[in-house]
C-alpha cells in the first residue's frame, strides 16, 4: 500500500562532534521524524533536552546538540525513530490530520496561473480546485527564513520551475514548483510558478516563533475569490 507506513531505510551520518544528519528515503518520512523529535524536545527528557536545533531537509533531518556527549546518546535513538515510521509520516497521515491546521486564503490571480493550467492540461478552475482540494503538509523549510516547502498536494499540480527566475517576487505570493507548493514569506527573487496571493502574514519577527508554517503542520488553501 503506497500511502501507508512502510519500514524505511534510514542512515545516521556523522556531522562533526555536536550534530548528526539522519537520511531518510522520502520527504514525508523526514517531516515525520522532525515532528516526533519536536515532541520529544517538548517533553524535555535527556538526551532530547540537549538538542538545540533541528533542520528538516528534502530527505534529511539535521539534529544539532549543545554538547558532544549528547550526540552519542542520540545516535541509537535517532536510528530507531527513523526506522519505525508512524501513520503521521505517510500520505494517509496527511489526510487523517494529526497536526495543527493552518488555513490560507488565496486570491487566485497569479502571473503564471494560465501557464500552470496549460502545463497541467487543467482549466484554471480545475487548478484552483486541485490546489484547494487536498490538504498539504509542511515538509521542510529553507531558501529564506519562513519559507516552507509544502508536500502531499494533488499530483496533477506538478510543474517545472520557471526557466528564468523573477528578480522580485512579492511577499504572500502563492507558488508551485516540482511536487511542492509554497508561499513567499518576504519579498525575494523567485523561480516558482506564481498562481495566487495571500494577505495572511506568514513571517513576523515580532512574533515568536516568527514563522506561521513549521515542519509537520497541515495546510489548507481556500479560494478567497477576487482577481486582484
Amino acid at each position: 500500500m503506497a500511502s501507508g507506513p512502510e519500514p524505511s531505510a534510514a542512515r545516521v551520518l556523522p556531522c562533526g562532534d555536536t550534530a548528526l544528519l539522519v537520511e531518510l528515503s522520502t520527504t514525508l518520512a523526514a517531516a515525520g521524524l522532525a515532528g516526533r523529535i519536536a515532541d520529544l524536545q517538548t517533553d524535555g527528557w535527556a538526551p532530547w533536552d540537549g538538542v538545540i536545533d533541528v533542520v528538516t531537509g528534502e530527505r534529511t533531518v539535521l539534529v544539532v546538540a549543545q554538547h558532544p556527549r549528547a550526540v552519542a546518546a542520540l545516535r541509537p535513538l535517532l536510528l530507531d525513530l527513523a526506522c519505525t515510521p508512524t501513520v503521521s509520516d505517510s500520505a494517509e497521515g496527511v489526510r487523517v490530520g494529526l497536526a495543527h491546521l493552518v488555513e490560507i486564503p488565496v486570491v487566485y490571480a497569479g502571473a503564471d496561473l494560465l501557464l500552470v493550467a496549460a502545463h497541467t492540461g487543467l482549466s484554471v478552475a480545475q487548478v484552483i480546485a486541485a490546489h484547494t482540494g487536498t490538504e498539504w503538509k509542511v515538509g521542510f523549510t529553507g531558501f529564506a527564513p519562513g519559507f516552507a516547502y509544502l508536500i502531499g498536494g494533488d499530483p496533477r499540480l506538478v510543474v517545472p520551475r520557471r526557466a528564468e527566475p523573477r528578480p522580485r517576487v512579492t511577499a504572500g505570493s502563492v507558488a508551485l514548483a516540482g511536487p511542492y507548493s509554497g508561499v513567499y514569506p518576504t519579498e525575494s527573487p523567485g523561480g516558482w510558478q506564481l498562481i495566487g496571493h495571500t494577505d495572511l502574514p506568514l513571517w513576523d519577527l515580532q512574533r515568536d516563533p516568527p514563522a506561521v508554517l513549521r515542519p509537520g503542520m497541515r495546510v489548507r488553501f481556500r479560494d478567497a475569490g477576487g482577481t486582484s
Binding site: 542512515r11 545516521v12 551520518l13 556523522p14 556531522c15 562533526g16 562532534d17 555536536t18 550534530a19 544528519l21 537520511e23 522532525a34 519536536a38 538545540i52 536545533d53 533541528v54 533542520v55 528538516t56 531537509g57 528534502e58 530527505r59 534529511t60 533531518v61 539535521l62 544539532v64 558532544p68 523549510t141 529553507g142 531558501f143 529564506a144 527564513p145 519562513g146 519559507f147 516547502y149 520551475r161 527566475p165 507558488a175 514548483a177 516540482g178 511536487p179 511542492y180 509554497g182 513567499y184 525575494s188 527573487p189 523567485g190 523561480g191 516558482w192 519577527l205 515568536d208 516563533p209 516568527p210 514563522a211 513549521r214 515542519p215
Partner: protein, 323 residues
C-alpha cells in the same frame, strides 16, 4: 542624553553580537552571534556580567567611540591596541572609560575580530531574543555606523574580579585546524586531498564562511555530477562546492546548503578559524588518519564506517530552490 558610546569611526566592519539565536533553524533563521564565541564569552566574564549581554565585534580594528557616561570596558579576541584619550590600555583587562573619553582600537597584529564589551551591555532592541547582527539574513541590528550612539544598559551587581586574563592572542602564520568526518565525506575522491594541500584564506571570506583557496578538491567519480537535495548544515561545516574550493561555515552560515559538507571542524577550532585573516595559510588535518582509498582494507578505516557503509545511489535532482 542617552547613556552610551557615540561612534566616531567604525573601521572595516563593526557589528553588535551576542550568543545569537539558537533554536530558530527550523524556521530558517540561523544562529549568528559572535564569530569567536570564546573571546566574546571571556569579555563578559571579565566584566562580571551575566552571560548574554551584547558586545561590539570589531573586524581589523579601527573603531573609535566617545563615552557618554562613565563605563567599565574590556577588549578581547584579536589584540587590537586600545588607547583611551591617546593612552594605551591593556588587552583582556577591564578598564574604566570616563565620561567624555575617547576609546580607539588600532589594527591587531594577529587575528581578525576583537570584542569590545561594556558593563551593562549594548542595549539595542533584541530580535527573536538576540541582539546579534546576522549578515546573511539581515536580522538583528544594522552594522554599527558613524554618528550612532550605542545605548548601554544598566550594569548588574558585582563587577570585574580579575585585572587581566592571561589568554594567548590568535595565531599568526600557519593555522592548523582539525577535521571530523562530515555527512558527505564519501563524495570526495580522496579525503587526504583536504589535508595534503596548503590553503590560503581568501579575501572573499566573511562571517558566513572562511573561503579557502588552493589546489581544488575533486569529487569521487560516482558523485561527480550528482545534485545534493538541500540539507541542514552546521557551524564549522566544510562545504565543497563545484569549484573544489572549500568553505568553512562560520557564525552567519546558511541554515541549509546544496553542496556536500564533507568534514566539520572540531568545535574547539571554530573560534580559531574565525580569527584567520585573509591571506593567512591554513593546514587541515583529520582527527584520525583516513584510510587509503586505493587500499580499502587498510587499517584506519573504522572512523569512516558510518559514512561509507551502504552507500546509496546519487540522488536525482528533486524540486529546487525557489530562487
Amino acid at each position: 542624553m542617552i547613556r552610551g558610546l557615540e561612534v566616531l569611526a567604525t573601521g572595516p566592519l563593526a557589528l553588535v553580537e551576542d550568543r545569537g539565536r539558537p533554536g530558530y533553524a527550523a524556521v530558517g533563521v540561523g544562529r549568528s552571534g559572535a564569530a569567536d564565541r570564546a573571546a566574546y564569552l571571556l569579555a563578559g566574564r571579565l566584566l562580571g556580567e551575566p552571560v548574554g549581554r551584547a558586545a561590539v565585534e570589531v573586524t581589523l580594528g579601527g573603531l573609535v567611540v566617545q563615552a557618554r557616561g562613565s563605563f567599565t570596558i574590556v577588549v578581547t579576541g584579536a589584540p587590537a591596541p586600545a588607547m583611551i584619550d591617546g593612552r594605551p590600555v591593556g588587552h583582556a583587562a577591564p578598564v574604566h572609560l570616563p565620561d567624555g573619553a575617547t576609546l580607539a582600537l588600532g589594527m591587531p597584529p594577529t587575528g581578525l575580530r576583537s570584542y569590545l564589551a561594556v558593563r551593562g551591555g549594548i542595549d539595542l532592541e533584541p530580535v527573536l531574543g538576540s541582539r546579534s547582527s546576522d549578515t546573511l539574513s539581515g536580522i538583528g541590528p544594522a552594522p554599527v555606523a558613524v554618528g550612532q550612539v550605542l545605548p548601554i544598559g544598566q550594569p548588574g551587581p558585582g563587577g570585574p574580579t580579575l585585572d587581566v586574563a592571561p589568554v594567548g592572542a590568535p595565531e599568526g602564520g600557519t593555522v592548523e585546524l582539525t577535521l571530523l568526518p562530515g555527512p558527505r565525506l564519501a563524495w570526495l575522491a580522496d579525503p587526504r586531498a583536504l589535508t595534503t594541500a596548503s590553503w590560503t584564506v581568501s579575501g572573499h571570506s566573511d562571517r558566513v564562511g572562511m573561503r579557502l583557496a588552493g589546489s581544488p578538491v575533486r569529487r569521487a567519480r560516482r558523485w561527480a555530477d550528482a545534485e545534493l537535495p538541500s540539507e541542514g548544515v552546521v557551524l564549522g561545516g566544510v562545504q565543497v562546492p563545484a569549484d573544489g574550493q572549500p568553505i568553512v561555515f562560520l557564525a552567519d552560515h546558511p541554515v541549509t546548503g546544496g553542496y556536500p559538507v564533507v568534514a566539520v571542524l572540531r568545535t574547539a577550532d571554530v573560534d580559531r578559524a574565525a580569527q584567520c585573516r585573509p591571506g593567512q595559510s591554513v593546514r587541515l588535518r583529520w582527527a584520525v588518519t583516513p584510510p587509503d582509498p586505493e587500499q580499502p582494507g587498510a587499517p584506519g578505516g573504522m572512523w569512516l564506517s558510518d559514512t561509507l557503509q551502504s552507500l546509496p545511489q546519487p540522488a536525482p535532482q528533486l524540486g529546487a530552490s525557489p530562487n
